[in-house]
């Protein structure tokens, strides 16, 4: 009888041990009903050299390409689709009128080009046509480090929160925070601090037509959808790698896991996100030979997967014309970085 009792206790102990394993990502993996391979068409251009092309915008016959690691100018303007070089702007440097950083570029509805210098903590706008500096907006120090921006309306910007206590900030034309919204949707017991915000650094895009804001995380595999009119989180779309993985050291997040998304766009019909999937393990071993992602994921406006495109090149960013179904991207690994795909 004693033997049976001991065996029973041992069995219970083993059962408890097996059930106490580290929680795995049990979320359903994103499954796309359609997967399509695409081949790029190169748009050759001369007179433009970019070390690390990272953002592209097109409006009518005007194409702007942004270099994240400019040696001379951060931004270049070309005629589209002729690809004839027009001019370069945002000179790199530390003198007055020069810039040390460019996080993103956007064109507002008045056709003004805007850009964000995170190091100077300021937004700049340029006059349509001439691309001369129109205005500079010094951003509040409370933003700590603004790493992206989009237009909420004519007088308000959306900037991701860097404190970890919220997800986004709404900032007025004086650079002051007027509202802080939502929180980082981590399911782990992380403290809401700067390392959390650093690890969950997300690229944003907002469409005022449908009031949808998408945030795609640079680490991990998460896309968040918010409705800013109703002020609510609609959905969190997890991929198989789950939320960002990181270690905290001396108050900083040290990335781990995978490189996730590097660009996202909310259209009128669909949401598009560019995914990399490189693991830091492979990067440390030197197994990753190219920067950028080859996977373009398309969701409907409710966050349901629609299609996954497998690109023949590694790109860092894109812009989509939903009417022509043309997807224009930048291949950071090529001397001719501007490429286009026709989405089926």
């Amino acid at each position: 009888m004693l033997n049976n009792t001991v065996n029973t206790y041992l069995l219970i102990f083993l059962l408890v041990l097996f059930s106490c394993q580290e929680e795995n990502n049990t979320d359903k993996m994103i499954e796309f009903p359609k997967v399509v391979a695409l081949v790029a068409t190169e748009l050759r251009t001369e007179g433009v050299y970019m070390r690390y092309p990272f953002r592209i915008r097109i409006m009518d016959s005007c194409l702007y390409a942004m270099d994240l690691h400019a040696s001379e100018y951060f931004c270049h303007r070309l005629d589209y689709p002729s690809m004839k070089y027009q001019r370069s702007l945002m000179r790199f440097g530390r003198a007055p009128g020069e810039y040390s950083d460019a996080e993103n570029i956007r064109i507002d509805r008045h056709r003004r080009l805007w850009t964000l210098d995170a190091n100077k903590r300021q937004l700049m706008a340029f006059t349509p046509g001439t691309d001369t500096l129109l205005c500079e907006i010094k951003l509040s120090e409370e933003l700590i480090r603004p790493l992206d921006f989009d237009f909420y309306d004519d007088s308000t910007f959306i900037i991701p929160d860097y404190s970890g206590q919220h997800r986004i900030c709404l900032v007025n034309r004086e650079g002051e925070i007027v509202k802080r919204l939502f929180s980082v949707p981590t399911r782990k017991s992380h403290k809401a601090d700067i390392p959390l915000a650093q690890a969950w650094r997300g690229f944003i895009d907002y469409n005022p037509t449908n009031h949808l804001l998408a945030i795609a995380t640079q680490l991990g595999e998460v896309i968040e959808l918010y409705n800013l009119k109703e002020n609510k989180l609609l959905k969190v779309i997890y991929g198989k790698s789950g939320e960002p993985v990181y270690n905290t050291k001396e108050g900083y997040a040290i990335p781990d896991g995978i490189m996730g998304y590097s660009d996202v766009s909310v259209g009128r019909k669909h949401i598009y996100a560019l995914f990399w999937g490189h693991t830091f393990k492979d990067m440390k071993k030197g197994l990753i030979k190219k920067e950028g992602g080859r996977i373009l994921r398309v969701f409907d406006l409710k966050g349901n997967p629609v299609c996954q495109y497998l690109l023949d090149r590694h790109v860092t960013c894109f812009t989509v014309n939903e009417q022509t179904h043309i997807f224009t991207a930048l291949d950071v690994n090529s001397n001719q970085p501007i490429v286009e795909y026709k989405l089926e």
Binding site: V6, L10, E22, Q218, N247, I254, K281, K284, E291
Partner: protein, 69 residues
Amino acid sequence: MKKIFLTCISLVILTTTFSTDLNSAGRPTGGVIDNIEALSNGENPVHLCLYIGSLDCPTSSIKVMYIVE
């Protein structure tokens, strides 16, 4: 009885071994990191920001390919 007990202990040890996260995140492996010329990130001993990329190095004003402890 002794056999059963030893078998259970062996199972526990095996389970623990394969359940442990063997990820050596943040630690250089294979000698690759040792041979890489690091980007200047000051004298900060906390971490190393390596190569050019798109990760925001928290202690410098540059974007890098990866950050290691």
